[in-house]
């Protein structure tokens, strides 16, 4: 072939008859724009979901038997008040009038939510719904958050080990463990921990571990506080880790196994890259991508399970509060809790989505 072999490299022809990619000129700014657009879309969707949930909660509240004002008034009359008087006190204290038109009730409720003003609790005199939730929710979020994080980190690592060593003894053993853990309900795990680890084996004193803080420990950014909070949250955290780690191991194994068969992994081996570099940047990173959505699923599962787990472990989180609200028909509190808890799950979803877009360059385009 009569190709001219020059000593200097021939001038680059960027297209070379093979350009299907976008124009150079339109590259960077639109990328930015589209990316922020992606965020915008996700945030908007999260808002819509929260709004829908708030509405469902509102209308469910109206549809349930027994009006909060009646419930509270009923209780007040037992203290010797006349019915009319009791109703007036209840309406005043709940900042809610059942005789007002529905649309104005609705507006009160929705606009109140926007400022986190969800009225007063029925059963906790002097405490607003926001205060009650604020006192309990952080502990639940803390224990679930730490549990999710630990489970994800361990689950990803073990899942990768299983994929790299698949069909060996270790893989078989871990697979069985993961499947069993995935099948046991989380409150049962909590019970087994208390009876098995605490009472039978005597590894810890389950009575001492109860509650969220030891008496006398003041909240603040001190080592004592953080240490004590972790000490009391230890059992819930271990329960949560055990509850979801199995799923993480299995999905990570499947995802890693798939990535191990990708061309770019073989090419990376051919390129003589070190095993560690391949495992982290080529296999691990790509294997994690499809699992990011699982973060929010795990979080949601645990929030649901927390109600029972916290009861079993006597941890003073939002789970106990929710049960109280149901038992005492504290409707304002119940409504507030439902909206706030779903908002937390929706936020977890949002965080997962945004994280995914950061991790996968293909999403941003």
């Amino acid at each position: 072939m009569a190709t001219d072999i020059a000593a200097t490299p021939p001038p680059p022809d960027p297209g070379g008859g093979a350009t299907t990619a976008r124009d150079d000129g339109a590259r960077v700014p639109p990328l930015r724009r589209i990316w922020s657009n992606y965020v915008f879309v996700k945030v908007r969707k999260a808002f819509v979901v929260v709004f829908v949930v708030a509405n469902v909660t509102f209308f469910l509240g109206r549809a349930m038997p027994g009006d909060p004002v009646d419930v509270m008034a009923g209780r007040l009359t037992q203290g010797g008040m006349s019915m009319d008087e009791a109703r007036a006190v209840a309406i005043n204290s709940l900042a809610y009038d059942p005789d007002a038109p529905l649309w104005s009730q609705w507006w009160e409720f929705i606009s109140g939510l926007a400022t986190l003003d969800m009225g007063n609790t029925i059963n906790r005199p002097g405490q607003t719904v926001a205060e009650a939730i604020g006192a309990y929710l952080p502990w639940t979020l803390f224990s679930i958050g730490v549990g999710t994080l630990v489970a994800i980190v361990l689950g990803l690592a073990l899942g990768m080990v299983m994929a790299y060593w698949r069909n060996r003894v270790l893989d078989h053993v871990l697979s069985v463990v993961a499947s069993v853990l995935g099948a046991v309900p989380n409150y049962l795990i909590a019970m087994l921990l208390v009876t098995g680890g605490g009472m039978y084996l005597g590894w810890f004193d389950p009575i001492d571990l109860r509650g969220t803080l030891s008496p006398g420990v003041e909240p603040g950014l001190t080592a004592e506080f953080v240490g004590d909070a972790l000490y009391h949250a230890a059992l819930p955290i271990v329960t949560y880790v055990l509850a979801i780690i199995g799923t993480w191991m299995l999905v990570m194994k499947a995802s890693t196994t798939e990535v191990l068969g990708e061309d770019y992994v073989t090419v990376a081996r051919a390129r003589g890259l070190r095993d560690r570099r391949i495992a982290f940047s080529y296999v691990g990173r790509n294997a994690v991508l499809p699992l990011v959505a699982q973060i929010a699923i795990s979080f949601g599962t645990l929030v649901g399970g927390a109600i029972f787990v916290e009861q079993v472990l006597v941890y003073k989180g939002v789970g106990g509060l929710l049960l109280d609200a149901v038992n005492y028909r504290d409707y304002p509190l119940l409504q507030g809790l439902l909206v706030i808890i779903t908002t937390c799950v929706v936020l977890a979803n949002l965080v997962a989505d945004l994280l995914y877009s950061r991790l996968d360059p293909r999403i941003r385009t």
């Binding site: 072939m1 190709t3 072999i5 490299p9 021939p10 001038p11 680059p12 022809d13 960027p14 070379g16 008859g17 093979a18 350009t19 299907t20 990619a21 976008r22 150079d24 068969g261 990708e262 061309d263 770019y264 073989t266 090419v267 990376a268 081996r269 051919a270 390129r271 003589g272 890259l273 070190r274 570099r277 940047s281 080529y282 990173r285 790509n286 991508l289 991790l359 996968d360 360059p361 293909r362 385009t365």
Partner: protein, 354 residues
């Protein structure tokens, strides 16, 4: 520019493949031998094409040479002797793990079949170059800018615009650009051997041409040896000095490109050449080749081509033909064929046999 290409080793072949078997584990106790008894010598600067029908073991042989087979695959017999840049001859089969890692890409690189997915989707192209250089530079940690400059030169060799390619993620490049970027990456460490597995199959005709022209040009400039796996006999004729035909896991004919295209002695090679559009103005009458290759786990006891061979005789069903030199030459260029009737001019076909 980076150091000049390695001087061809004083004498002897760069790569000497001796009786290599490659197989896959297909079940608890079952194995499939996908390459049987492959032997050939490749001298420095030579370019050899491997041709044959789909499934005949070309990729398996290529991967086996660098021990890049999937978990289930192993090179189960033979030697893969390679003369390293240092001048020592090693058997790739016996290289220890870390030695093998340093051997790969530095001495022998491979451009894969379906290289569209050769790049890690979450890394930028520049990170692929950085990773590659850094994996092979042990003591001196060269500054990033210096490596990127060298990478830019490599990309310019395949006529890509480095300013455009390096900061991009793989999905932002077209298939042709990725393919050329991979070729540039493959040449980064100035390997002595480049294995290309159907490097142009997924590309449109124009892009194919430019890739082929650049390969020709790069080979003249950098003087690496090449094993070129392809379905496209036209490409083989253009890029290769020699051709090896594979059939059902065996090399059944090897020789210079002229030998195979003008004096093919194995009926399968003739049929293969006859089944493609004419090469170099030589108009063959296309002979349709009935049937398909035999299953690798149910090979006939004699010649594996026998069921489809127009020249087959009774003898062919019983005796397996060895690769036999018909026309000896130096530097691995002998014309050899594995056919019992390779030198017979007029042979009774089975139809005429009593």
């Amino acid at each position: 520019m980076t150091p000049t290409p390695p001087a061809p080793a004083a004498d002897g072949p760069l790569l000497s493949v001796r009786g290599v078997d490659v197989g896959y584990r297909t079940g608890r106790r079952t194995r499939l031998t996908a390459v049987h008894d492959a032997s050939f010598d490749l001298y420095p600067g030579q370019s050899m094409a491997l041709v044959g029908e789909s499934g005949c073991g070309k990729t398996t042989l290529g991967l086996g040479l660098l021990r890049l087979l999937p978990r289930t695959g192993t090179v189960s017999a033979g030697q893969i002797l390679f003369r390293r840049k240092s001048g020592d001859q090693v058997d790739v089969r016996t290289l220890a793990k870390e030695d093998l890692r340093r051997f790969r890409w530095n001495e022998a690189a491979m451009v894969f079949q379906g290289a569209m997915n050769a790049f890690n989707p979450v890394l930028r192209m520049e990170e692929h170059f950085l990773d590659t250089f850094r994996a092979h530079e042990r003591r001196t940690r060269r500054p990033r800018a210096e490596i990127l400059e060298e990478s830019a030169e490599l990309l310019e060799m395949v006529r890509l615009d480095p300013a455009r390619v390096l900061p991009s993620h793989p999905h932002e490049l077209s298939g042709g650009m990725r393919q050329r970027a991979l070729i540039a990456l493959a040449l980064a460490l100035r390997p002595q051997l480049l294995i290309l597995d159907e490097p142009t199959t997924a590309l449109d005709v124009l892009t194919q041409r430019s890739v082929v022209e650049q390969l020709t040009e790069l080979r003249e400039r950098l003087r690496f040896s090449m094993v070129f796996i392809t379905h496209d006999l036209g490409l083989a004729a253009e890029l290769a000095d020699r051709v090896g035909t594979m059939y059902a896991g065996r090399l059944i004919e090897t020789g210079t490109t002229r030998d195979l295209f003008h004096r093919a002695r194995h009926p399968y090679t003739s049929a293969l050449i006859g089944s493609v559009p004419p090469v170099a103005g030589d108009r063959h009458v296309p002979e349709p080749l009935p049937g398909g290759p035999p299953g690798l786990n149910a090979l006939p006891p004699g010649c594996s081509f026998e069921p489809r061979c127009p020249r087959a005789t009774e003898e062919c069903t019983a005796t397996r033909p060895e690769l036999r030199v018909l026309h000896p030459r130096d530097e691995g260029l002998s014309h050899a064929a594995a056919c019992l009737h390779a030198d017979g001019a007029e042979l009774p076909t089975r139809g005429g046999h009593p």
